[in-house]
Every structure is written in C-alpha cells, then in structure tokens.
C-alpha cells in the first residue's frame, strides 16, 4: 500500500490548498455561514472552475477520472478549512449514485451540471426512527406512467435547503426495513406537494425536514437495487478524509497554543501531562490518517468486502476525531469554548461527521457483526 501520490494528485492537492488559503479564511467562512443562504454560490463556482467538482467523475462522464483518491484529497483540505458548501452531498453522494446507477440519459442530463457547478444536490434517506438503517424506509413510491409518485417524510436532510435536486429513497416493494424493496428517485426540490422546513445544523450548515405528498419522482437506475450501501461506503471515505483534515488542524492549533499560552510563569506545553496528551492526539491522527487512506485506496481499487472496512474506518476515525476534538477544546481552556476561536467549530464539524451515516458505536457494531456473518 504505497501511498505515493501521482503528480496529478499532488497538483490537485496543492491547488485546493492554495485556493482555500487565499479565499476561504476562517473569517470568510464565518460570513458565509452567517449569510442568509448559509453557503456561497460564488465559492461553489470557483470550486467548479478549479475542476474540483469534476475531479472524481470518469472521463466518460466529463470528469477528470480521479476517483475516490481525488475525492479524498479534496475532502481532506475541505476538512481543514471547514468548508460548508455541499461537496459530499452533491459530488460524492448524488454524483456517485448517478454515475454508478443512472441511465445513460440521466448521466448526460445531470452530471455535466454538477461538474460545472450549476446544480446542487442532496440525498434524502433518513427518516424518523430509521436511525442509521438504510433499509428502514416508510416513504412509498407508487408507479404512475413513466414516473412515480412519492409520499412520506424525510428527516435531517443535509443541504436540502440549498438543493436543486434531491435523490430520495422510497419503498417500491416489501415491508418497512426490507432491504430489497428500496428504490431511489430524482426529485425536483421545487416540485409541487413537496414541503421543506429548513434548520441550522451544529456545524453551521443547513438541513431540512421534508414532507412528500404525491410528489413526482424519476426512478434512478432500476427498482429495488440496494444502491445506498455502496453510496454509504463512498460517503464514509470522503467524510473520514474531511474528519482527518479537521483533526490535523486541531492538533496544530493546540500545539501552537500550548507553546504560547503561559500559566504559573511557564508555557503550558512544558507540562508533561499535556505533552503526553498531545502525543496521544498526534498518534490518534496518524492512525486515523492511515486507515482513512487505506479505505480510500481500497475504494479506488474497487476491492470487494469494502463495506466492513468502511464501517471499521468510520468507527476508528470517529473515535479518534472525538478524542482529538475533546482534548483540543480542553487544552484551549475557556478559549476553546468561545464562538470566536475556530477550535469549537472544528469540534462541531467532527461531531456532525460522527453522526452522518452512523456514529462510531453503530459502525463498530456493524464491523463486528459483518465479521460474525462472514
């Protein structure tokens, strides 16, 4: 598992780094979060221009063919800068689903607009009581001519208030939590009979509760294929990369602070108990980074049995992130509690990532159960 990056990958990384350093300071982000929309269309356009939105797509689809490794590179840097724009939702989740499962017409209709930064997407799969179970779906889809009519409720759909399109999971067969009967539908976010109530998330983003009452949807791919499972694995690859980026920033901020902050006449970094804490934070980051890279390399190689590894990584990276975030706030003392300092915002981002697609405990259990099943 040699992780020597190609020249193209290094170029991608350095160009994202440069752009975010120049255009996405913490103060800029604060303004974006506080703005009425809560995201920056201009910034999104700049991402598109730099080629970030097309990086993982195949060349056939008009992308750069970078796959999961380019997603990893971008997401890691986005994690360092706490980017709020819906990269994972639009490119990794929706873009990935369309590319992997969509018809030729659907790919042609949707992917170019994603790459060009014209359209925002969100994935609506969570429901009240579904918790982290992809198959636990009560929303129904009833066939009507070429289309389907969707009815039901989705909850905590991240980026839905910003989205032009939604991909919605709905039941076409079977009873609640029957894995085979869940299909995916493309729905216009402004469709008739769709009611969307927006709210703010802990990490400064927007999500929505959505009610569908006979809302028209277009089937993505074919009925009843368990597409969301592979989608979750890809999402985990990207979310872990984001988390690892955030951890790196927390560690360097904490280290820097410990070398400057004085108590009892000395810098707090001279206290052995804090030195050892920071060593453990360093190790936690190193291990999370390694496992995250291993997952993305495996995703890129299209290896089988990825799902168990994805759960393992989500769990391990999640616990590592939680440890680092907790300790970063703790070592910053009262300052770590303030909205002014970025540390608390990284804490909140990591907390948010830890919930998405299942928390560390959920994935640990899944990792164990998939082993027992093997």
């Amino acid at each position: 598992m040699d992780i020597q990056f190609t020249e193209e990958q290094e170029l991608l990384r350095s160009s994202v780094q440069r752009m975010l350093r120049d255009q996405y300071s913490f103060e800029t982000r604060r303004k974006i979060v506080a703005s009425e929309d809560g995201w920056s269309r201009r910034q999104w356009g700049a991402f598109a221009e730099l080629g970030l939105l097309g990086a993982p797509f195949s060349e056939e689809s008009g992308g750069l063919g970078g796959g999961p490794l380019s997603t990893m590179i971008v997401a890691q840097e986005f994690g360092r800068h706490l980017v709020v724009e819906p990269y994972v939702e639009t490119v990794v989740l929706a873009g990935g689903l369309i590319e992997h499962a969509g018809s030729k017409e659907q790919k042609q209709a949707f992917i170019p607009d994603i790459i060009a930064g014209q359209k925002i997407w969100a994935l609506a799969w969570t429901e009240k009581g579904s918790r982290f179970d992809l198959a636990n779906v009560a929303t129904t889809a009833r066939r009507e001519g070429d289309d389907y009519m969707l009815s039901g409720e989705k909850t905590a759909v991240i980026a839905a208030p910003w989205a032009d399109y939604l991909i919605v999971s709905a039941r076409t067969a079977g009873k609640r939590d029957d894995r085979g009967g869940v299909s995916l539908f493309v729905v216009d976010a402004r469709a008739a009979n769709l009611d969307l109530r927006s709210f703010k998330t802990i990490d400064g983003r927007r999500a929505a509760e959505i009610t569908f009452r006979d809302v028209r949807g277009e089937l993505l791919g074919s009925e009843g294929v368990a597409l969301l499972e592979a989608c979750r694995d890809r999402a985990i690859g990207a979310l872990c990369a984001e988390a690892v980026g955030a951890m790196a920033e927390l560690n360097s901020a904490t280290l820097e602070y410990s070398k400057a902050r004085k108590q009892f006449g000395v810098t707090i970094g001279s206290f052995q108990v804090l030195q050892h804490r920071m060593v453990d934070m360093f190790i936690a980051h190193q291990e999370a980074l390694s496992l995250m890279q291993h997952l993305n390399l495996s995703l890129g190689a299209g290896e089988s049995g990825i799902s168990r590894l994805a759960s393992g990584a989500k769990s391990k990276v999640g616990y590592a992130g939680k440890f680092i975030a907790d300790q970063a706030v703790q070592l910053h003392g009262g300052m770590g509690m303030t909205d002014e300092l970025n540390v608390g915002h990284y804490f909140k981002r990591i907390s948010s990532i830890n919930i998405q697609f299942g928390d560390p405990a959920h994935h640990l259990l899944r990792y164990v159960q998939l082993d027992a099943a093997a």
């Binding site: 070398k259 030195q275 050892h276 920071m278 453990d280 360093f282 190790i283 393992g312 082993d371």
Partner: protein
C-alpha cells in the same frame, strides 16, 4: 493488507512463505515458545536461518547480511511473524551485532560477528541496574583500568535470558567525574569470567526470563572495549534505536486476535450479551491493529523512497505494546473462571491444568505482557521522545 509489491518482491514473499512452511522446526511449536523451549531448542530455527543466509536481515552484506532492500526486510519480518516463528535472539543479532560492525575494530568484527550469525554465542544486555529504571545514564557499574584489563564491579538487572548467555554487553562507568552520559563505556564481557554470577528473577507469571547479573572484580581485557573509552553512550543510543524497530508487532497481534475470536466463539454462546460485549472490544482492538498496520506500511513506503521516518519507532512501540496488552487482557477475560489457573514453572509433564488447551497460557501471557509498556524505554519515555522530536515541546 499488503504492500503493493513488484513481481520480484512478490516472488520473494512466496519464497519466504514456502521456506518457513517447509523448515520451521516442529519442536518449536510449543504452547508458549518464549518460556517453554530449552536453549538448544530455541536455537534450531536460528541455525536454519543461518544456513540459508537469512539470519541477519539488518546487516550489510559484507558482514553476512542478505543485502535486502527495506521492502524485503519488511516482507521477511511480516512473513516470519505472521507464521508465528520465534525470532532469533534480538540481543545478539539485532542489538550487539550492529554495534560491533558499526563501532568495533577489525579484530572485534572478526572475532564476534561470525559467532553471532552462527548462534554459537548467546548474548545478553547489561544496561539496566538497580535504581536506574528508564534513566540509563545513571550507570554505576565501575570499570577501572589495570594494565591491559578493566576491573569491573557492579550489578546489572532485568537481564533477559542471561542464564543462557555466553557474553554480556555492558554499559560501565569509566569516568566517575564526568557528566552522567559522558563517562560511560561499552564493554563486552565473557560470562565465564571469574566474578560473574547470575541470579534468577521470577516474574509475576512465574517464568524465569530475567536475571540479576553480579560483577565482582571481573577482569575484562581492554581489547573488549567497543570504540572509544567514555563514548559508550553514543553506541548505547544507537542500539536502543534498533531495539525499537518493528515493535508494532502486527503479525503477532493478528495471530493472537484470531485465536481470541475462536476462544470467544467456543466459550461464550452467541446469544449471551457477554458475547457481543466482548466482540465489540475485540473489534476495537482489531481496528487499532489495522490502523497501526496501515501506518507501518505508510512508513515503510516512505523509507523505501528514502524519507527519514523520524521517531516513528516510538509510535510503534507505544501502540504495538498497548494493543498486545489489550489482546492478552481480553483473552484472559474471555476464558472466565479458567483465568484463575496459572501453569506452574518450571514446567513438567505431569502437571494438571484445567480446561481446554487453548486457555493454558492465557493467564501467564496476560501477566507477562505487563512488561511490554515498561521495557525498551517505558511508554512514558517514548511519549517524551515524540513530544520533543515531533511536537517540538
């Protein structure tokens, strides 16, 4: 998880794998190879590797090493540990050997290196002393020059397998007036010299691995001094760097984890909540192993490209030992009441141990593994090293 290997390296891996399968001595497959083998038995594999030319992967070719790349060294390490082979005595091959070929004179090289390779000489390490703990520079054992000899007086302790040793490499104080690190020399002492005596230290698992070594007016020829007088600390640090390599112990941890899973399956019904509770803890450790393995591969890949990994060895020592301790602890928990039983030492054929075979060494392993976070520079010392060298604190 595998390194991405070139076809040549993949062929090498297959060769190593096949060689182990065909040649590893059956006599060495005992319940606890670290304690249950006689000196002669534990040298069987050493001699086979010596004949094959694979005994000293670290050594340069001119001194009898195989001339492997970093990648091949890693493959060899990985394959031998995955297969559960007992590694050749580290004190000889990994520790004193490199000190001798790096800092010794020609006569010393010619005298000692071939005997280390062949397994003729068994070495032990005379670093620790009563009261020195992790602070090695407090060496009090004195060596006073008397013509062509040093007269050595002192007390070494925690000396692993000194009961088998032909030679001991010692840190001795040759200049009592200098600063602690500055007055130390590196001396090779024949264990058969008059005045050397060994007393066993029995550890909490009941085994006899470590010893006190007493040195009373031992006459050591000056020709056994390595390098320069009072420069011993430099050589000692060099050696400690070697000691901490490959401490991640991935192969061993993976084997013990597999075994642990089988034990849990056999001991606890699947519908017992304890089964899930234990399985989750095993899952967490398994992920720790996976993450450490991925880290090790990342470091190996960097080293193969000529990038200095810095104090990565400290990270591997800390996490590798924490992980293995965790595994032995879970294994001991998994066997429930049988965890009360401890094999008697020294072993004899007619001793009774209750329960299935797989539990017989669980208690002693659990107890013995407590040492891992203490020896080789305690894990707290390793954290100090990372804090200083990586974090700049």
């Amino acid at each position: 998880m595998e390194l991405a290997l070139s076809p040549e390296d993949a062929a090498f891996r297959d060769e190593v794998r096949a060689f182990i399968a065909e040649n590893y001595p059956k006599e060495m497959r005992v319940p606890n190879p670290e304690t249950d083998l006689t000196k002669e038995q534990s040298l069987l594999w050493h001699r086979i590797l010596y004949k094959k030319g694979w005994i000293a992967p670290l050594w340069p070719k001119e001194y009898g090493g195989p001339g492997w790349s970093i990648t091949r060294r890693f493959i060899f390490e990985q394959e031998t540990s995955r297969a559960g082979t007992l590694p050749p005595l580290a004190f000889s091959v990994t520790m004193v050997g490199p000190v001798i070929y790096s800092f010794g004179n020609d006569a010393q090289k010619q005298k000692f290196l071939p005997r280390i390779l062949s397994g003729e000489d068994w070495w032990c390490q005379g670093y620790s002393e009563p009261g020195s703990g992790s602070d090695l520079a407090t060496v009090r054992t004195k060596a006073v020059r008397d013509g062509d000899h040093y007269i050595v007086n002192g007390h070494k302790t925690w000396t692993t397998l000194a009961q088998h040793a032909d030679w001991i490499f010692c840190l001795v104080r040759t200049d009592p007036s200098a600063k602690p690190q500055a007055g130390i020399s590196f001396l090779l002492i024949d264990m058969k010299s008059p005045g050397v005596s060994v007393r066993p230290i029995i550890t909490i698992d009941g085994s006899h691995e470590v010893n006190d070594v007493f040195l009373e007016d031992v006459r050591v020829p000056v020709e056994n001094l390595i390098g320069e007088e009072n420069k011993g600390w430099t050589y000692a640090k060099f050696l400690l760097g070697n000691e901490r390599t490959s401490m991640a112990g991935i192969g061993r941890s993976t084997r013990y984890l597999d075994r642990l899973k089988k034990i849990v399956k056999a001991e606890i019904p699947a519908d017992d909540p304890a089964h899930l509770e234990l399985s989750k803890e095993i899952g967490r450790i398994e992920l720790d192993v996976l993450a450490l393995e991925a880290t090790e591969l990342r470091v190996i890949a960097q080293m193969a490209r000529g990038i200095d990994p810095g104090p990565a060895a400290s990270l591997f020592k800390i996490r590798g030992t924490e992980i293995f301790q965790g595994i032995t602890e879970l294994t001991h928990r998994a066997i429930g009441n049988y965890g009360l039983a401890l094999r008697e030492q020294p072993l004899s054929a007619n001793q009774f141990m209750p329960g299935p075979d797989y539990i017989h060494t669980a208690s002693e392993k659990y107890l013995n593994a407590r040492k891992l976070s203490i020896y080789g520079g305690s894990n707290e010392i390793q954290r100090n090293i990372i804090a200083k060298a990586v974090l700049g604190l």
